[in-house]
């Protein structure tokens, strides 16, 4: 089963997104989405590398935040709002402090990503509020609902392949 993992650090540089490919059926409880550092074999081959390679949330290099505690998906709590079911992720301890997100699921798809807490680390926090979150939400919607088998484009060298979406598909 391919699982989607969202792990948020508390800085823009710490925002890392692991994607779900062909995730299973659309019941929110089993969507396998947990907003914390769930250990997952879908990590795209850069595990152990603490750098995120992220700028403005645009990177999907996919290594879990170094201090994220691996936790079972069942640790998430949830509730229902008019817009769908809200799944609250575990608190992730990033380099600057704790972060936590909640995801709103509707019909098995992520419709909203809400940051519940992130540590204010000065100038970066504004980026998180203003720019990175809307961008991140859009990226989440694009990739999570895609359920693709392969990726065309971004032709790569063997080294570039490691960080590619195709690599994540091949490993998952």
């Amino acid at each position: 089963m391919r699982r989607a993992v969202l792990a948020f650090g508390s800085t823009v540089a710490g925002l890392i997104l692991l994607l779900s490919f062909r995730s299973h059926t659309a019941t929110p409880a089993s969507a396998g989405v947990s907003a914390a550092g769930t250990s997952s074999k879908s990590s795209a081959g850069a595990a152990g590398n603490g750098s995120s390679g992220g700028s403005g949330g645009g990177s999907m290099a996919g290594s879990a935040a170094p201090s994220a505690s691996p936790s079972a998906a069942g640790g998430a709590t949830g509730g229902t709002t008019a817009g769908g079911k809200v799944v609250t992720g575990e608190v992730v301890n990033g380099p600057y402090g704790p972060s936590q997100v909640a995801i709103t699921l509707s019909g098995g798809k992520i419709t909203k990503v809400t940051v519940l807490q992130h540590t204010d680390d000065g100038e970066n926090s504004q980026q998180i509020d203003g720019n990175a979150l809307p961008k991140l939400t859009a990226e989440t919607l694009t990739a999570q609902s895609a359920k693709i088998d392969a990726v065309s484009g971004a032709s790569y060298t063997s080294a570039g392949y490691i960080k590619s979406l195709q690599s994540a598909l091949d490993k998952a």
């Binding site: 997104l17 645009g58 990177s59 999907m60 290099a61 990226e139 694009t142 990739a143 895609a146 359920k147 693709i148 088998d149 392969a150 990726v151 065309s152 484009g153 971004a154 032709s155 790569y156 060298t157 063997s158 392949y161 979406l165 195709q166 690599s167 598909l169 091949d170």
Partner: protein, 250 residues
């Protein structure tokens, strides 16, 4: 027919990685396919001094001294060059280099080696160009994401099909620009162009030519029967040919 288990394999070759998504039952056949790809690398690589392509390019070997496939490759490149008004060429910057053709050709042949021995559900992705056959599981088509060249890690579009190919050319390739053969300068009109159609050999060459053409590619691909295009411009705007919607998946 029940869906059998799948096998995914990533093979570093030709300076890139070929990804396979095949039935697990195809595992005994895969090594022969991989050996053939490595043979293509040895024979056609412009990075190997002793490859047939390099020796032929330097004039040290004639066609008769080289693998017979080289003559076939050169012949097909000539057809494509004619078809694309010279925007596809096996002599980019004046040097013999059929790599733009060889990549797609080897992907298509690798997939055919598997389907020919009775494995109808196959996807081969060579450096971002994909040949698909059959269905990944009964009742649904292959879904291929098109990478967004301006936002690495995200998708610009998703296409779906059964026996079809998806090939993308863009500035993300190998860190080197595709040269416009007519100006000698890097092609800059598009960030990426994706071509879909039945065969990846053609789709790959068409995507390469289209990228070199820039915005003019849209009109050109409309003339190619059975092939459609989707492109991302450097400012993020997109266009697509009139038949592309048939491939687009939500």
């Amino acid at each position: 027919m029940a869906a059998g288990p799948r096998l995914r394999h990533a093979e570093p070759v030709m300076g890139t990685v070929f990804s396979f998504d095949v039935p697990a039952a195809a595992a005994p056949v895969l090594p022969a396919v991989l050996r053939w790809l490595h043979w293509v690398d040895t024979t056609f690589s412009t990075y190997r001094e002793d490859s047939d392509v390099s020796r032929f390019g330097r004039g040290e070997a004639g066609l008769a001294d080289c693998a017979p496939e080289l003559a076939e490759v050169i012949a097909q490149c000539a057809v494509l060059s004619e078809l694309s008004g010279g925007y596809f060429t096996d002599r980019p910057a004046g040097r013999f280099d059929p790599s733009g053709f060889v990549k797609g050709w080897s992907i298509e042949h690798a997939a055919a080696m598997l389907t020919a021995v009775g494995h109808p559900s196959v996807s081969v992705n060579g450096a971002g160009d994909v040949q698909c056959a059959g269905e990944p599981e009964p009742g649904r088509p292959w879904r291929i994401g098109i990478a967004d060249p301006l936002r690495p890690g995200t998708l610009a579009a998703v296409v779906a099909g059964r026996d079809f190919a998806v090939a993308t050319s863009g500035t993300a390739e190998r860190g080197a620009h595709i040269i416009n053969p007519h100006t000698g300068r890097p092609a800059a009109g598009l960030a990426s162009v994706t071509v879909t159609g039945p065969r990846v050999t053609s789709a790959d060459a068409y995507a390469t030519a289209a990228f070199a053409m820039g915005p003019a590619a849209r009109e050109w691909v409309e003339t190619l029967d059975g092939y459609e295009a989707f492109a991302v411009a450097p400012d993020g705007t997109r266009w697509q040919t009139s038949g592309f919607a048939a491939y687009a998946a939500s």
